[in-house]
Amino acid sequence: MAQRDGQWPYAAGSRELKRAVREARVLTVGAGGIGCELLKTLVTSGFRHIEVIDMDTIEMSNLNRQFLFRKRHVGMSKSVVAAEAAKHMRPGIDITAWLGNVKEPRFGVDFFRRFDCVLNGLDNLEARRHINRLCLAAGVPLVESGTAGYLGQVSVHLKGRTECFECQPKPTPKTFPVCTLRNTPDKPIHCVVWAKEMLFPLLFGVPEASDLNEAAAADGEGAASTADDPTFYRHRQGEGSRQFAERVHLYGTKIVELRRMEDLWRNRRRPEPLDLDVLLLPAADGSGTATAGDSVAIGGAAKPVDVASSACRALGLKDVHAVWDVPHSAAVFLMAVQLFVDGRSNELGSAQFDKDDALAVEFVTAAANLRAACYGIPMQSLFETKASRLSNIIHAIATTNAIVSGLIVVEAQKLLAGAAGSCQTSFLHQQVCSKRLVSRMAAPEPNVACMVCGTAQAELAIDTNKMTLQQLVDRVRGGQIGFKVKLDSFLDPITTRQQQHWKDTLLRRLLAQLPGGGVVHNSILDIDDQEQCFKAQLIVKHREDWNSDQHPEGFVLSGGLPTAQAEQLSAEAPADVGGRRDGRNDRRGPMPAHAGASELAALQETEDDVVLLASDDEEDATEAAVCTGGSIFWILFK
């Protein structure tokens, strides 16, 4: 692409750009709110080769903004339906729908390399990070976007020219101190999080996922009878669902236990226990509303299906905006537990909380409200509970998505017109803000200290089914790139037990059989030498047909690795590294496939302590790497 920045805005209608647009291959990640709008804008803008990935299915609450979907499509795959709709809009286009998670290995670097531009319409940080890394690895420009209510943002991530998605730290979701959640909640959200993340998994899901167990063990000194037993929260064999529900109605016994912990309540109001029998009395007298007491038989097959999916419907509570009083909350709580145990016994022990699971949401609302009542915290309606962090519901409206899709396509057109220098980051405001509704600024330059895009990449072709981790470390690291691996020092950061484990098992294992899926085709190996400010990524390419004469080493390294950069690297943008070397860096040129002996010698001068860490979780790897200091080499299993 020639650089034609000067012509940009006026080249927007030019014939060359139209042709470039027609011939461009673009990938749309996500076919949700932004995705639908984006597909529409792309198709009408003249894009003809589009591929779209989405793993989700269509839900009722999507229909207010994802306008390519109709009511009859509920339950079908988003990407497939959206592709069909786009085709209907312009029959001549070539559009491919992919059903699946973008993190699957089949959407690897090779997959991304096929595109001229990747356009993101995602809803979560994790996937955005993943796409960002793959796009950097593939050298494909990425247009990133996000919306929340009236607010929106579009940015361009172009390797070496603009900052990547991870150049600036991203805020992580807020967490709450566990002891507040367990013992001393003082906001409605504390109760909701407690119900969702502690009580729900304890009763229905994987109990290990809950922190409530330890809590019971820790503070149950006085009354060890009930809560210490981990099986207390599980549905026992032969126990009636109603019995179970009443037993796990913790607001009586558990709160009484908590009240005994004098230290906690010195400066706080003591929570008031709720007695189930007292609660159910007035509700039973109430007219019209079915109570939990009346509907013990709900689990029976006689009830219609939709009643079994919602405790509110079973109890006749229709208004999602109404705040239930305590007896109603108790009734919903009991009913939800009963329905869950009776209707979905197969899920017990493995249930996952899902924001679209009506019964789970009702259970959490009722449980949170009861707890709120104990602690004198205002109670919330079903609607409010759903909104408050219970799920990652993103407040979304069609207009914002439409604007963002327009901005994305404008940026994509700039990229295709060869005017990458004109790329901008745009922000949408809710209200006019310094006379603007849309603010735009030049795309910021990459952050040289960024761990992700400050990294150079090379391809490493090996046979992952024949080479062990030890061999990889010895040959590839030691021979080609110049790190000397000392086993002893490299095991420093891990405990003795882990060291032994490593030596015994991991190093001898074949790459493909390492934990976390192993090092396979398209895995990315991260190398980091902090003393040299040297960072690189090796993308593993699996190759089977090795000719031992041609490649006695059993691997081929291709692509430019960066020179070891001195401290003053801030002056050098990562993309320029290969061409601009100075001073001592001259000795360590970018490594061709087979480095000359002299260069190798030069490289081996740096006898660094190399640390090899392995983890199936990138966060862990990073953490461990940070705490060791010095020179580090770590592997990320993807």
């Binding site: 927007a12 069609a398 207009t399 914002t400 899709s405 004109s422 849309v438 030049a442």
Partner: protein, 421 residues
């Protein structure tokens, strides 16, 4: 705009579909929306965007007017399927079919006749809001006058090439603003405030004096719009009666300027005629009282020569217009008064030094720009602010000096006394 409020609650099904947007604008706005009747004249790509947005949002009814046959449909209108039968179906009818599918709770209809047929008071009175899409300045001017008479909220939008803009005239608009107040104990409460905003007419907004306006901050697209209005008025004055003849085709500026040019020279405009366009610029800028250099030739040329719209810009302007329409009908939050201007040319190629937030995409019309009024607004708050500043100054600057001075004086006095006795 006050709209008829249906007493009925949202049904369970509506609540399920509108779940996400209810979280953004609340039940009350949704109820008001479902009572509103919107008329859209002209089925360009921009109209399709706005119609889609408000149909998804759940307005009461949307009526489209455009009798262009499908064979000559605007390519940017995504509502018309690519394999739609050509004639005799009009673009309005084809769009209506898709819109009706999008949201079954919204009544969607098409009226026969050209977009200009809505320019009648008895037609307008049946609706709460009129949106003119891609119509010439003469139609906008006429529609604005009629809407004022009929008491109908008025919006207009045009997208051409790399430019897109929208104009709003809500007459006297009453709305509520919700403010979140955070108390010292961390809890928040909502404060609802009712406000009124008065809007300028199209005529006022495009021909007001620019005297006293900071010319550097003037959005150049606004100058072009002034130009289109000016030229259209010239056309009307010089003989073409827009009531009788069909209104000049889109785009007004282009059509008007170029047709005049063609009448004089008997041939089409080419790039060689830059000088003529330059004269035009002189004219527009001279009338507006600004430096001609403010309006680059390239930009003027781009606006005049580009007839097609860019779908991306349609999406942006259509999205903002959708938001504005929802604000206007829902009576919640402050609507834009009165231009929304978007262009890819504004500022984006100027200089090499990156300036943050450099592109101007929205500007109040100069009619509304009044710097001085702000001076006398909110005086108690300002006084309190200054007092707070002063307090800090007293504590951190004056107090130490005074304290030291006092201490020194005291010390001297003591010393004096010490020596004396």
């Amino acid at each position: 705009m006050a709209s008829s409020q249906p007493d009925n609650q949202l049904t369970e099904q509506e609540a399920a579909i509108y779940d996400r947007q209810l979280r953004v604008w609340g039940v009350e706005t949704q109820r008001r929306l479902s009572g509103a009747k919107v008329l859209i004249a002209g089925c360009s790509g921009l109209a399709a965007e706005v119609a889609k947005n408000i149909v998804l949002a759940g307005v009461g009814s949307v009526t489209l007017v455009d009798d262009t046959p499908c064979s000559r449909r605007p390519l940017s209108n995504f509502l018309i399927p690519g394999d739609a039968p050509a004639d005799p179906i009009t673009v309005a009818e084809a769009s209506v079919a898709t819109l009706a599918e999008m949201n079954p709770f919204v009544k969607v209809a098409a009226l026969p006749g050209p977009p200009s047929s809505v320019l009648a008071a008895d037609v307008l009175r049946q609706y709460d809001l009129l949106l003119l899409c891609g119509q010439p300045a003469s139609s906008i001017a006429a529609a604005d006058v009629l809407c004022r008479e009929a008491g109908v909220a008025f919006y207009a939008g045009v997208c051409r090439g790399i430019f897109g803009w929208a104009f709003a005239d809500l007459h006297q608009h009453r709305f509520v603003v919700e403010k979140k107040e955070e108390h010292k104990d961390g809890s928040t409460s909502k404060k609802v405030e009712e406000r009124t905003e008065s809007f300028a007419t199209w005529q006022q907004a495009t021909s007001c004096s620019l005297h006293g306006v900071n010319k550097r901050r003037l959005t150049r697209l606004y100058l072009i719009i002034r130009g289109t209005h000016r030229i259209t008025v010239c056309c009307v004055v010089s003989g073409a009666n827009y009531e009788a003849a069909p209104p000049p085709p889109l785009p007004a500026f282009h059509a008007a300027v170029i047709s005049r040019f063609e009448q004089q020279h008997g041939r089409c405009v080419t790039a060689a005629d830059a000088e003529q366009l330059l004269t035009l610029r002189q004219h527009v800028c001279g009338e507006a009282g600004v430096e001609p250099g403010l309006l680059p030739d390239k930009m003027l040329q781009a606006y005049a020569e580009e007839e097609e719209d860019m779908p991306a810009i349609n999406a942006i302007v259509g999205g903002e217009l959708g938001n504005e329409l929802i604000k206007a009908v829902g009576g919640r939050n402050e609507p834009v008064n009165n231009f929304f201007l978007f262009s890819l040319a504004e500022g984006s190629t100027m200089g090499k030094v990156p300036i943050r937030l450099r592109e101007v995409v929205y500007a109040l019309s100069p009619y509304q720009q009044s710097v001085m009024t702000g001076l006398w607004k909110d005086l108690p708050h300002k006084a309190a602010h200054h007092a707070a500043n002063l307090r800090d100054a007293v504590i951190f600057c004056v107090a130490p000096i005074v304290g030291i001075a006092y201490y020194c004086a005291d010390y001297k006095e003591k010393e004096k006394l010490h020596h004396r006795f």
